[in-house]
């Protein structure tokens, strides 16, 4: 009497690899400014601080060098929050000016997942700029244009 197989064939790598996987897909192209506000003495700010650290890593910063990550320290024990101010095109797409996460009861992994769900999807698609031409391609172009000239000149 055998029951059909249920469960995973591969074991998960743990929370660290889950965070790493989410971090790889973070894209801040649609964001103008990120303000991370927290009170260091409040409870449950660990995830916010970790999220701030992860946003400051070079890989994430490279997705949009113009985006400014500003930490805002307050001293009134108010709950932590993260504010994403969007760029114009993203604002039109999402019909909101900014996205706010109340991160008091969210873990770091959840924050990243929500960020990928709401913010990374608003990144404008990349435009192909200045394709580098190879020598053969250049010759073809020039040959195509100059061949007619050469042909007319030859008598």
């Amino acid at each position: 009497m055998s029951i059909p197989f249920s469960g995973t064939l591969r074991r998960s790598g743990g929370i660290v690899s889950a965070i790493g996987k989410q971090l790889k897909s973070v894209n801040l192209k649609g964001v103008k400014r990120i303000t991370v506000q927290f009170d260091p003495f409040a409870e449950n700010v660990k995830s916010t601080r970790e999220f701030l650290f992860l946003l400051s890593t070079p890989k994430v910063a490279q997705t949009n060098p113009k985006c400014v990550v500003k930490p805002d320290i307050v001293c009134n024990r108010q709950p932590a929050s993260i504010n994403f101010s969007l760029i114009e095109t993203a604002q039109e797409q999402a019909k909101v000016k900014e996205i706010r996460f109340n991160s008091e009861n969210l873990s770091t992994l959840e924050l990243l997942q929500l960020c990928n769900k709401h913010v990374s999807s608003l990144a404008p698609p990349e435009e192909i700029t200045n394709k580098v031409l190879t020598k053969a391609e250049k010759q073809k172009l020039v040959g195509g244009a100059g061949g007619k000239k050469g042909g007319s000149k030859k008598k």
Partner: protein, 258 residues
């Protein structure tokens, strides 16, 4: 007869050498040993050492870690905790920063700049800091070390403005709290403390405030007399001005006459 011949010493005999070489350059076999003879195996089995084992009833309900004693507290932690306690006790200024992702080169340059101002940049693990401050009044700073951090110690609390100036150039360091003269301060309080004037200036301001009460009383008493004197002065000056005005036309007239 052969036994009689054997009596001679092996060294003296020319036929058999003292050393009989059994092996020449070949590799010895230790991976696939021959099965021992039964008698030999029996002797080996009997002479296997038996080590004393803990009584099963004691270890039955212990976890694997407890049974194998894998986690022993490293005594070095205690030494580092003592160092942290030392730094905390002998520093008038302790500033705690949240540290974002930063290259070692940048933080080294900041460390050098701070060192030149007699400030010391340090970083310890949360467990060790917990061990260091447990039971001391410094226990209140524990919530600040949940994430990546660094600490700046200085024996001189007047350096706070210099510290803020230097760390303003490093955006990855975010000030979150500090201890000044055994008093825990939040970030805004630290910034306000840095902008406060020196002790002498504060004392001068206090003296000024204290004198203000008496000074105001004197001012009120002298007010009316002073006013009168001023008005008379102005009046006298106006009278003098008129006299000089009338004299000068007469003087101007006389030279033309002569």
């Amino acid at each position: 007869m052969s036994k009689l011949i054997q009596h001679s010493l092996p060294v003296t005999s020319t036929r058999s050498p003292l050393l009989q070489f059994l092996r020449f350059r070949g590799k010895i076999n230790i991976q696939r040993p021959k099965e021992p003879h039964y008698e030999r195996a029996r002797v080996i089995a009997v002479t296997q050492p038996k080590y004393p084992q803990p009584v099963k009833s004691l270890t039955c309900f212990q976890t694997r870690a407890e049974r194998t004693k894998a986690q022993l507290e490293n005594p070095y932690n205690e030494i580092v905790a003592r160092e942290v306690r030392n730094w905390l006790n002998h520093s008038q200024l302790v500033a705690i920063f949240h540290l974002n992702s930063i290259t070692a080169d940048e933080i080294y340059q900041l460390r050098v700049q701070l060192f030149k101002q007699n400030m010391h940049l340090k970083s310890y693990g949360r467990k060790i800091i917990g061990q260091a401050v447990a039971g001391t009044p410094y226990e209140a700073i524990m919530p600040l070390f949940h994430s990546n951090h660094c600490i700046v110690f200085s024996p001189d609390q007047k350096r706070l403005s210099t510290l803020l100036r230097l760390t303003r150039k490093v955006p990855q360091m975010v000030l979150i709290g500090g201890i000044v003269e055994q008093t825990l301060l939040s970030r805004n309080e630290l910034v306000a403390y840095a902008q406060m004037p020196s002790l002498q200036v504060a004392q001068a301001q206090l003296v000024q405030t204290l004198n203000q009460a008496a000074g105001q009383l004197v001012q009120h008493l002298q007010a009316h007399q002073g006013n009168l004197v001023r008005v008379l002065d102005v009046h006298a000056q106006q009278g003098q001005a008129e006299e000089t005005a009338t004299e000068t036309p007469k003087d101007a007239a006389t030279p033309t006459e002569s």
